[in-house]
Assembly symmetry: C2
Homo-oligomer: 261 residues x 2
DNA sequence: CGATAGTTTGATATCCTTCAAAACCTGTGG
DNA sequence: CCACAGGTTTTGAAGGATATCAAACTATCG
C-alpha cells in the first residue's frame, strides 16, 4: 500500500518514545499522521487520557436523541456507532478504535442521530464541552487536526456505502478487515498481519448489511482459504495483502500519510 | 413529522423576502434553518452566487485523486458525489441539490477520495480556497454554519448506510424520495407534495445499491400504489406522508429546525 | 455446573440479479 | 419533416446470492 505509511509510522513511534511511556497517547500517535503537534499539544491530549475510567462491555455511552454533552476519548477497547430500526434491526455505522476521540464537534448539533455503545470493556475519558472549546481556542493545530479527523470519518462512511452497496458478501467482509487492520496499525495495535478483533459475527453482520448466519459461512470460506484464523471473537488476519487484493482495497480513502496541502 | 419544520419554513421565507429577489440565495435560506446570519453574512453568500456560471449535464466537476482547489456552490441543478469500482460499478454517495455549498473544508485533505459530477445542466460557482478562508475569518457565524452543514452531511451518510444495509428495495427507494423531498422543501423547490426529480432509474439504482431493472419494477409498484407519477425523469411524489410511513421515515437525521445548543 | 451468548449446520424460500431484447423518448442532422 | 442514433425505460425468463427458520453445538462466566 502507500509506501509512505511505514515511514510515517516510524515518525509516529519516535514521537511516542519521546513522551512518557506511562501514558499511551494513541490519539497523539494518530493525529501525528496528519498534523505537526507541539509538545504542548501532546500534553493537552495527555491530560484527556488522564481522565479515563473503566466501563463494562455493551454499555451504551450515548443514545439516539440524547443532547450531546460530552466528547469521548476511547483509550482502550472498541466501540461502535449504531442505529436501530423500528423492526429491531441494527446497523453499525462506524467503529471507534483505541485512540479515537469521537465527536469533538458534536455540540453543533442539538440531538444525537445515532447511539454509541462499547463493544468490549474499555477505558474512556468523557470530556466536557468546555474543555473541548478551550482546547480549540488554545491550539489551532489541534483544531485543524480534529476537523481533519472528522472529514476522514466522512470518507470512511462513503467507502462503507460502496462496500454495502456494490460488493458481495465475501468482499465486504474482506474489505472491512483490511480497513480495520490498517486503522489498528495506525495506532500500533497490530503485530505483523494479525490484530485482535473482538467483533462477534453478529457485529460484523450488522456492519456490512448481512445476516449473522451468512457472515458465519463467509468466515468459514475465508478460513478455508487461509485468509484468517480463530473461531470466536479475536480473529487473526493471516494474509493481509491477499485480503486487500480480493477486496480491491484502495487505502486512499483513509487519508493516511497526507500532510495538509 | 417534526411540527417545527413548518414554522421554520415560514421564518426562512421571511428572510428570503427581506433580501433582493434578484438573487435566489438558496444557500442562505438553507443555513438560516440553523444559524442567525447577519445581513452582512447574506451579502457574502450573495457574492458567491454572483460568480455562478453554466455547465452542461454529466460534466465531472471534480475527479477522484484530484487535489482540491475549489469549493463549489450549486446555484441550480443537481449533482452527485460518486465512486467507481474496478469492475466499472458506480456508487453514488451523496446528492447535491440547489443551494448546497459543498466541500468548504475539503482543503484539509490532500486528495479527493471521490468524484463529483453534474446530473443536470447547472449553474455553479467555483470558489477558490482563499475566499473560503477569508469568509471563515470574517464571519464566525458562517464558519459555524458550514461546519454544521458538514456534520449534517455525515448524518445523511449514516442514514444511507442504514437504508442500503437494512431495508428492502421498495423501502430504500421510498426513503430516498422522502429525504429528497424534505431537502428540496428546505430550499423552497417543492410545490405541494411534488418536486422535480431529474434522476434516471440508473442513478437511483446506483444510490440505493440495486439494479436499474429492479428499480424499474419498484417504481412501477409505487405507481400502482399511487405513491408517485411520471415515467421518465421528473417524477412527482404524490403522497409524501404515505411514502414516509411505509419507509418508516424519521426526519431527525436531517437536523432541520435545530438551533445550536 | 447451569445459564447465556456466540457459533455452526441444514433445508427451504425469496429477493434481487443477470441476460437478452424490445419499446420508447428526445434530440440532431439531413 | 423525417429518419436515425443514443440514452432510457420496459418486459420476460432463469439463475444465484442471501435470508429465514429451526435446532444442535460450544465456549465462557458467575
Amino acid at each position: 500500500m502507500t509506501c509512505g505509511v511505514f515511514a510515517q509510522l516510524a515518525h509516529v513511534r519516535a514521537i511516542e518514545a519521546e513522551q512518557s511511556s506511562r501514558v499511551q497517547n494513541l490519539l497523539a500517535m494518530k493525529l501525528a499522521g496528519f498534523a505537526d503537534l507541539s509538545v504542548c499539544d501532546i500534553h493537552r491530549l495527555d491530560a484527556f487520557h488522564a481522565e479515563a475510567r473503566s466501563y463494562p462491555a455493551k454499555l451504551d455511552l450515548i443514545r439516539e436523541g440524547d443532547r450531546p454533552e460530552v466528547a469521548m476519548l476511547l483509550c482502550s477497547g472498541w466501540a461502535c456507532r449504531y442505529k436501530v430500526l423500528p423492526d429491531g434491526g441494527r446497523q453499525i455505522v462506524a467503529f471507534l478504535l483505541p485512540g479515537d476521540l469521537c465527536d469533538p464537534h458534536v455540540f453543533l448539533l442539538k440531538e444525537m442521530d445515532h447511539a454509541i455503545a462499547l463493544l468490549t470493556a474499555a477505558k474512556v475519558a468523557l470530556i466536557p464541552r468546555t474543555k473541548i472549546v478551550q482546547m480549540f481556542e488554545e491550539s489551532p493545530a489541534l483544531a485543524r487536526a480534529f476537523w481533519w479527523s472528522t472529514l476522514v470519518d466522512g470518507s470512511i462512511l462513503r467507502e462503507w456505502l460502496v462496500n454495502i452497496g456494490r460488493r458481495n458478501a465475501f468482499d465486504r467482509v474482506a474489505h472491512l478487515f483490511a480497513e480495520l487492520w490498517l486503522r489498528m496499525r495506525a495506532v500500533g495495535l497490530t503485530s505483523g498481519g494479525a490484530f485482535d478483533c473482538p467483533l462477534t459475527q453478529a457485529d460484523i453482520a450488522d456492519t456490512v448489511g448481512l445476516t449473522a448466519i451468512h457472515v458465519n459461512r463467509t468466515l468459514q470460506d475465508m478460513r478455508c482459504q487461509g485468509l484468517i484464523a480463530g473461531r470466536r471473537s479475536g480473529f487473526v488476519i493471516l494474509d493481509v495483502p491477499r485480503l486487500m487484493e480480493v477486496s480491491r482495497f484502495e487505502p486512499n480513502y483513509l487519508h493516511f500519510d497526507r500532510r495538509y496541502g
